[in-house]
Assembly symmetry: D2
Homo-oligomer: 345 residues x 4
């Protein structure tokens, strides 16, 4: 056998394959399927570690303001896309869990109390890194009551750092399409004339495009992009929303291609997490019905409530409400086209 690195050592297989200790093996009734239950959850934790590895890199690279179309931006998009591929696998992994029938689960379920998937610290860190705050979580206090102090601190530490949502907001605000961003609104034009002209035209076209039942949307438009009501708590600033919409509208210009991909991938991440939660709800429901989960609460109700509340990038998603038909888009000046990287041959 050749010298050097050996597969089993490199992968630390003694640890990995020695970490399955079914509780039911300590009883008179070993439950065959407990192994599956352990391995599925360990596999999920491995993937969560990988997702955190990718997101940490992305977050760190966004802390640095100089990355609009740089190599780093390309790498960030690539690594977030990898996160979506991993989440897609995580969704499919539920198929494996579903091969465990309710009766098979009952064979060891009571032995696990009060442990529960709610206690996955890594998953909470993933959510926090994206931008979910404890106060926005469904049943945040309940969580805390189930966790060790050290683990709560880990989550709180993650929450204190800049989230991807905040960094994306800052990055969108920096976008220099129309030189200086301004506090424009329908009545007080922004001081940058180019930007003013553009949005004025856009707003008019948008208003015309609304059918009768949608007329109210124009107020929503003004609130999102210009005059924000003081009481309204939104995560993205008007300036950031304008940039995001601009990117969606002119995504084909060289300078906007990566930014557009980035925005889309963030929505993909939200959607995949949501699909994962949804399939998870359905599985829990089939598995335990109206019984109380091992963590002591109704697993199904928790997960269902989280479905609607845990979207992080919903304010980006809802910008589609403000799109207009491509053929009616304001024409860009050649100067602006050039700034977006377009060179006429």
């Amino acid at each position: 056998m050749p010298d050097g690195i050996y597969y089993a050592d490199y992968l630390q297989l003694d640890k990995i394959l020695g970490a399955q200790l079914p509780e039911s093996d300590k009883t008179a009734h070993p439950a065959h399927d407990e192994m599956l239950f352990i391995i599925i959850h360990q596999s999920y934790e491995l993937w969560f570690k990988q997702i955190i590895h990718e997101m940490t890199w992305v977050r760190d690279s966004f802390l640095n303001p100089i990355n609009d179309n740089s190599p780093a931006m390309q790498v960030a998009v690539h690594r977030l896309r990898r996160v979506t591929t991993i989440l897609s696998l995580a969704v499919k992994q539920i198929d494996v869990m579903e091969t465990m029938t309710p009766l098979d689960f009952l064979d060891f379920r009571d032995l696990l109390r009060p442990a529960s998937g709610f206690q996955s610290i890594q998953f909470k860190i993933v959510e926090a890194m994206l931008g979910l705050r404890m106060e926005d979580r469904h049943a945040g206090n309940y969580y805390i009551s189930q966790l060790r102090a050290a683990d709560i601190q880990l989550i709180q530490k993650a929450e204190k750092e800049k989230s991807l949502l905040e960094l994306v907001n800052a990055w969108l605000e920096r976008m220099p399409f129309f030189e200086q961003p301004e506090n424009w609104n329908a009545h007080q034009p922004v001081s940058n004339p180019m930007e003013h002209v553009f949005w004025k035209e856009y707003r008019e076209t948008y208003e015309q495009s609304l059918v009768r039942e949608e007329k109210e949307n124009i107020r929503f438009f003004d609130s999102v992009f210009f005059q924000r009501d003081e009481n309204e708590k939104r995560k993205l600033s008007p300036k950031a929303c304008r940039s995001a919409l601009f990117i969606m509208l002119y995504r084909d210009y060289p300078l906007l291609q990566l930014p557009y991909q980035l925005l889309n991938i963030l929505l993909d991440i939200d959607e995949l997490l949501s699909t994962w939660r949804y399939r998870h709800v359905n599985m829990v429901q089939r598995m335990i019905g109206t019984r109380v989960g091992t963590g002591g609460s109704s697993g199904k109700n928790y997960l269902r409530a989280a479905l609607d509340k845990h979207y992080v990038f919903s304010e980006i998603a809802e910008l589609t409400s403000f799109l207009i038909e491509r053929q009616h888009l304001p024409t860009l000046t050649s100067e602006l086209e050039q700034r977006l990287g377009f060179v006429k041959n």
Copy 2:
């Protein structure tokens, strides 16, 4: 070229490939992605036709009472499992739709009004064949206002026939485990002593297994399996519920293997339809935001409401609430074991 059947004729490709007539091609602005929109929907309709083909066969075979463990039962399970494979593909097909961006959709969206996916007659027939009735549908009247009279009749015709749900109820009621089914309840024992003894023991064990927060479940137990409140509208009779639970508990006995697979596949169908609707909701939301759908209503809200209401076999799913640990199951008599096809060597 040899004589005989030719691929293109056999598949009627002139019709299939000649049926894409984009509305935007009639305008000055042909929209590239309208072709995709048409083809995705046509592909869905082909699969719906196949699902109806399978379900029609299954329904017809269940109209005949003699199929508990017969070859026909095996075929029914096989064909319903095929329906799940098709639905699984239908879920994945949303990936293709999601390659169409909101802006690309806007290029032709207004041209399609008021046509809408709500008008898919075949999908409604699938739902009706499973057991969804117009009065249980979210926004049933709205539907009707959008459909041609002839199409409404097609759906109503499907609703008048025995649904899979009703046929499964009747089949479960016929199950001859304990000879004659009886109107047993906690106070008035069923006349069949074997059945009485079994369920009495089961009920006691179940009651003991409940943790504090679940104590109420025993009333739910009685209501589901024995004394049904008059006002309560449930789809499955107490007798059918007892049979279904019995199948879940003793599924490994030869006679119960196929019945168990059947029950599981029905839940898979519900779950896949639900996953399909859920991904559909998310997609519509990303596509049109808060705009009004081509059919004139909020696509997203409709679909989200349907999510919870359109489960057909939820009463089977919730039986998992009444499972007890395998090691505490009442022991079956040898006589009963034999009736379930088990021969000791």
Copy 3:
């Protein structure tokens, strides 16, 4: 926080999440993607452990001759079907690996030499448990030269136990359709008249169904089912092949439903392993082209050669060559129908 079991302890997350030690972290050039490489392989090893867990149970239950249609048989089918679900996930997991580009892999590839996926002991044990023997492996000696003595012993131990292939052969031979199995062949009829009559009729019908180019198939038929050439090494005996074909033909009878599912699942396992190897080949090819793998040999060529040689249940798969149309099947006597569990109403 409540007392009792805690999620992180139960899953031994300190071990699982502490087992990633990238080699490149010890150099001046940490490679971001090495974490992914490690985690993917660890996840595969977790799943291999689960597959071995399931297959060990199935093998043990088949060592016991009394399981034709017993509860144990139902459980065996269920657990092998779970193996297919896991393999299906393993195939999809390649999507994640493919997010690592060749250049990213180069950043740490040389640091891993001579470690290689060829050294996965668990995967070789899975293959051995199914029925692959070292002498049938592509490049068996090469393997051995790359492994530690203790690991070679583990594989050899697995090879010495009864494989699933052998156990399935024995189980098929035990099938009691026509009372006693006999050494029937085309010229020397079996002594059991019922079996003799059946296969004589079947052989004639099959011969008539062959089109001109297929006429040779009848010799193949005789060799597979009756008179085996001494030099021919086949894994399944003629008696076992007759049982397997009989099961395929009359699969809808109650007694044959599970056996048919079992045979099909074995083919699914072969096919999924093969798809996994195939996608793996393609990935390696894209990753390293004509370069030499970290294990010192051409990864691509090895994997491609294994593609054709490593089918374990190919003799079952090829039985489809001997099917005839259902409408021409020999009619079974009522006695035989009854033995197959069919009761006319």
Copy 4:
């Protein structure tokens, strides 16, 4: 009911859903599964139409030389990525076909002779548009003998147009990284000094990176990138290969991001088509074993032979053999970095 477009009319559902005419329905033995067989193939043909729709647009846009980083390039990448999503669905669709057992297929198989999937004109057009020529097809003459004259002409017409492979070659040759491309080789330096210096350094580093068993690769290197042997028939010119490798090496620079995505997607298309063929082979093998296909030849052998021969972009894939570690890459001059769109802050 509102006026205007109606779902069923828009989708031409009378044609789509009226195009299933099972041959077995004309006999005394209607075969239930023939409907599935027809619908699967019709669904494939719908998707092939969509793929042709996308590829036609991409090809037309590449006929125009001005698209290196233009909006059109972005759209081309997006639409080819959609093709991969569709192919991914096409692979999964085989799951549905596999729910048809061999015996079920036999019920109508003979009625279809000599029709066969070999006669799918659209699939051959897809292959031709990518760059597969009749002379490179496995068994090209056989094909022609099975097709109507009009259909052969359709394929030949597709083959006469510029293929994606040729257009990509031309596009790669146009890449202006080092001003003028030259006939450089190891002994006769290219006249452009910058390009000369770059490749000289690259070649030396590559040579040093080769381990003992790979030393021959340096000749392969020279042949691929510089001095092409006259007899050697390769699809991509040395200049195009140099550009493609350069893109892979410096893919993170703004100007190379889309080109890199494009190259990768072409490999994805090859790989997905290959996975589709591979699963198709396995399915045919399980379905008909060694019997002759409905088209009169051994389906399995044809498909297996096609597996290796029908890669269109293999010369791009094999460029990974020539990558070197990122840390040893030649440093680019600031001038070149600027030309690649990189602006230092």
